[in-house]
Amino acid sequence: MNSSPLITLRGITKSFPGVLANDHVDLDIYSGEVHALLGENGAGKSTLMKILYGFYRADSGKIRLNGHLIKIRSPHDARQFRIGMVFQDFILIPALSVAENIALFLSDLPAVLDKVQLNRRIGEISKRYNLQVDPDAPVWRLSVGERQKVEVLKLLLADAQILILDEPTRSLAPHEIEGLFQVFTNLRRDGYAIVFITHKLKEVLACADRITVMRCGQNADTLPAAEATEKGLISLMFGEAVIESTHRRREPPREAAQPLLELRQISTRDDVSGTSLREVNLDVFSGEIVGVAGVSGNGQRELGDVILGLESCSRGAKYLFGQDATHWSVARIRASGVAFIPEDPLGMVAFAGLTVRENMALTAMHKYARQAGLSINWESVRSDLECSLKRLGFTVSSFDIPMRFLSGGNIQRVILAREMARHPKLILAFYPTRGLDVQSAISARDLLVASRDAGSGVLLISEDLGELFSLSDRLVVLFRGRIVGTGIPQEITMNEVGYLMTGSKMENRSNG
C-alpha cells in the first residue's frame, strides 16, 4: 500500500431537504486496497460515494486526487479522473450484447465499432481478473452475478482505477459472493482501489483491507480490518445500543394449524421476459414460516403475482384460507387478509409521487373511505400508521412528504408498517430485509416471528440463506420456476441449499 492516499475527501457536507446526509466527512482511499464502507441505512454511505462519482454535488468540502484539488461536477468528470461506480440497480441495456453494452460506456467510442479488437480487449481483461462472460451474449440472458461482472468489466475497460460498488453482494448467491471477493483480490494486486458499500458485517471482515464505519452522516471511524471485530463494528454503527437477535424456534402446534395457502400444481403461461412457474405445490399453514430459497429471477416474482391474483395461472388451483381463490381479484385477495412485502417497494407497491399518508390510505380504501368514498378519514389513516410504526420501532420524519423523498430503507419501513397495520393472516414477505440496516432488519425479522407466533402464516422469500435458516420452519428451493427441494432447516445444510439454488445438483438428481 502506498504511503500517500490516492483520493482524499475532506469535510464533505451534503444536505437534502430535511436531512443532513453527510456531515463533514473525511475519507482516504489508497490504491491497492479494498475499502469497505459500512453503516446502517441512511448513514450517508451512498450519498458520499455518489458525491465522489459526481452524481451529487457536495455543499462543501474538498476532494484531492494524488494531492491535487479536483472538482467533480458530473459522472463524466469522475470518469475523466478514472473513478467508476457500479450502482445497486445495474444500468445495462438488456437487448444489447455484453460487448455492445461495454462499448457504449467507453469514452472513445468510434463511429464504426472494431468488434474484433473490442472482444479481444474484453477477453484479456476478463481472463486476467477472472471475470469471464461471453461478449456476444445478450445481457438479458445473463444472471445477476454475470451482469455484475459486466458492470465491473465496463469500468475496467473505461480505464477506471477507483471502483466504487454500491452493495455489490445484495443479490448474489453465496458462491458468487466468493467469486466477487476473488475478483477484488486480483484487482487489488494490480493497484486498483476498490470501495464497496455494504451493511453485512461478515463480508466486510472477509475481504476488506480497511473499514470505514459511517453513522448519522459522519465517519464514525476508519480502521484496518485486522483490528476489527464484529462486535466492535456493531457498536460503531449504532453507538452504544448493541442489539442481539434471538429467534428461538418454537414447535408450531401442528394439530391446530389451519392451511392458509395451498397451491396445487400451479403453472403459468410461458413468458419471454420472466420465468414461468412449473407445477408448483406449496402450502403455508397458520403459525409457520415457510422459507423460499432461490436466486432472484427464478420465479419468485411470478410466485408472488400468482398468489396475489395479479397473474392468472394456466393450470392448477389456488386455495386461500380453505376457499378456492383461483379466480379471485387482487382486491378480494388483499381484503381477505393477505399482506405483501415486495422486493422493490417503490416499483411494485408504493407510489413515489404520493405522500406517505396517501400511500398508507391506498392499501385499505374500504376502511378509510367515508360517505361511500366522498372523503377519506385521514385521522384514522394517521393513527393506524403511527401505531404500526410504533409497534415496529420505526420512525418516519413526516407523513406529508412524497415517498420518493424517503431513503430506500425508510420506504421499506413504511411499507412494512403499512402492511402490518392490517393484521394480516398470510404475509408474503419478498426479501423483506433487503436494503434495511442491521437494526431495522432485526425488527423486521422479529415482526415476522411475532406474527408467526400469533398464528399468522408467513411465506418468506429471501436470498439471504442465514435469514432463511434462522427464521423458517420449513424450506423450499425455487429454481427456474420449479420447486427443486424441500426440507426443514435442521436437516439440510446451507451448502446443499446453495447448490440446489444454482441448479448444480439438478443433473445428479435427474440421473439418480
Binding site: 395479479l310 388483499r334 405483501f340 407510489f351 409521487g353 404520493l354
Partner: protein, 328 residues
C-alpha cells in the same frame, strides 16, 4: 412559480412568432393584436361572447383532463361533443310536448349519455387491451361527424327549411335559458360546476386518490387491488359524457337546432387547453379564456384585416408546440 414564468415566456414566444406570420401577410401585428383584445375584452358584448365560447372549451378540456389523470389520451372530444349533440337533438325533437323542467334535464342526460357511450367504446377497447384509446378516439371523431351529417342530411332534415341540411328548430322548452340579453347560457353553470367537481373529486375523494395512484404507478396500483380496467372504462365514459354536455349546450342554447359544423373544433381546442393546463382546474379556466380570445380573434382578422379566419390555427399550433416544449 418559475414554471409559470417560463410558461408565460413561452406563450409570448408563440405570439411573437405569429406576429412574424402576420408581417409576412403584410399586416401590422400590433394593430391586429390590439384589435383582437379590444374587440373581445374592450366591451360587454365582446366579453360575453368570450364567455359563450369558454363553455364548450372548458367542458371538452375536462373531458380530456379527467382521463389524462391515469395517462389516457382522449383525442375524441370533438366526436363525443357531436354525439352528445345528436342524442340531445333526438330528445328535443321527439318530446316537444314536455314542459321545460322535464325536457331540459332529459336532454341534459341524453347529451351526457351520448358523449359517454361514444367514449365508452374506446374505453372498453383500451381496458381489454385491444386498441389504444388515442387512436380509437381520434378515428371515432370522423365517424361521429359523419353520423351527425347523416341525420341532418337525411332522416332529420327539416322539410320546412328549403334544402338546408338542418333539423327543425328546437321548441322553447328544449332551449337552455340565457342570462339577460346575452348569449351566455346555463351551460356556463354546468362548466364551472364540472370544474369544481373535477377538482373536488381529484383532491378529496377516495376515487381521486386511487386515480392519482394509478397515474403514479399502475403496477403498484394493481398490486394494491385498485381496479384499473374499471377506472379506464369509467373515466372514459364520464369524460366523454362531459364533452357530450358541450355538444348538448351548443345545439340547445346557441344553434337552436342540429346542423353540420356545429363546432369549430371545440373538441380539439379543449385538448390543447387540457394539456396547457396540465390538468390543473384553474389552469383550465385561464387557458380556456385565452383560447376563447384567440378563437374569436380569427373572426376579427377575417372581418377587419382580410385574412382567412383559420389563420389563428397557426397560432394554436404554435401554442401546442409551446405546451410540448414545456413538458419536454
Amino acid at each position: 412559480m418559475p414554471g409559470v414564468a417560463r410558461f408565460v415566456g413561452l406563450l409570448a414566444l408563440a405570439f411573437f412568432v405569429f406576429a412574424i406570420v402576420l408581417v409576412i401577410f403584410g399586416k401590422n401585428p400590433t394593430k391586429a393584436y390590439t384589435d383582437i383584445f379590444l374587440s373581445t375584452l374592450g366591451n360587454t358584448y365582446g366579453f360575453s361572447e368570450i364567455l359563450v365560447k369558454m363553455i364548450p372549451l372548458i367542458l371538452t378540456a375536462i373531458a380530456v383532463a379527467l382521463p389524462s389523470r391515469i395517462w389516457l389520451i382522449n383525442v375524441g372530444g370533438e366526436g363525443q361533443l357531436h354525439i352528445g349533440a345528436l342524442f340531445a337533438t333526438w330528445g328535443a325533437l321527439n318530446f316537444t310536448n314536455l314542459p321545460a323542467w322535464i325536457l331540459l334535464p332529459l336532454i341534459f342526460m341524453l347529451g351526457f349519455l351520448g358523449g359517454g357511450l361514444w367514449a365508452l367504446i374506446s374505453g372498453i377497447l383500451r381496458a381489454k387491451g385491444w386498441a389504444s384509446e388515442t387512436i380509437s378516439t381520434l378515428l371515432l371523431n370522423y365517424v361521429a361527424i359523419l353520423l351527425v351529417n347523416f341525420f341532418v342530411f337525411g332522416p332529420w332534415k327539416d322539410p320546412e327549411s328549403a334544402n338546408y341540411p338542418q333539423t327543425a328548430e328546437f321548441v322553447n322548452a328544449a332551449t337552455l335559458p340565457a342570462f339577460g340579453n346575452s348569449r351566455v347560457h346555463l351551460g356556463l353553470v354546468f362548466a364551472i360546476t364540472a370544474l369544481i367537481v373535477y377538482y373536488f373529486v381529484l383532491s378529496r375523494t377516495r376515487w381521486g386518490l386511487e386515480m392519482r395512484a394509478i397515474g403514479n404507478n399502475p403496477e403498484a396500483a394493481q398490486r394494491n387491488g385498485i381496479p384499473i380496467a374499471g377506472y379506464i372504462i369509467l373515466l372514459m365514459f364520464i369524460g366523454g359524457g362531459i364533452a357530450g354536455l358541450a355538444g348538448m349546450s351548443e345545439v340547445s342554447a346557441i344553434q337552436g337546432r342540429l346542423r353540420p359544423g356545429l363546432s369549430p373544433g371545440y373538441g380539439f381546442t379543449g385538448f390543447l387547453i387540457s394539456w396547457m393546463a396540465g390538468g390543473n382546474p384553474l389552469g383550465i379556466l385561464a387557458s380556456a379564456f385565452l383560447l376563447a380570445i384567440i378563437t374569436s380573434g380569427g373572426d376579427i382578422l377575417q372581418m377587419s384585416h382580410g385574412l382567412p379566419g383559420s389563420v389563428v390555427n397557426i397560432l394554436m399550433a404554435l401554442i401546442l408546440f409551446v405546451v410540448l416544449a414545456r413538458r419536454g
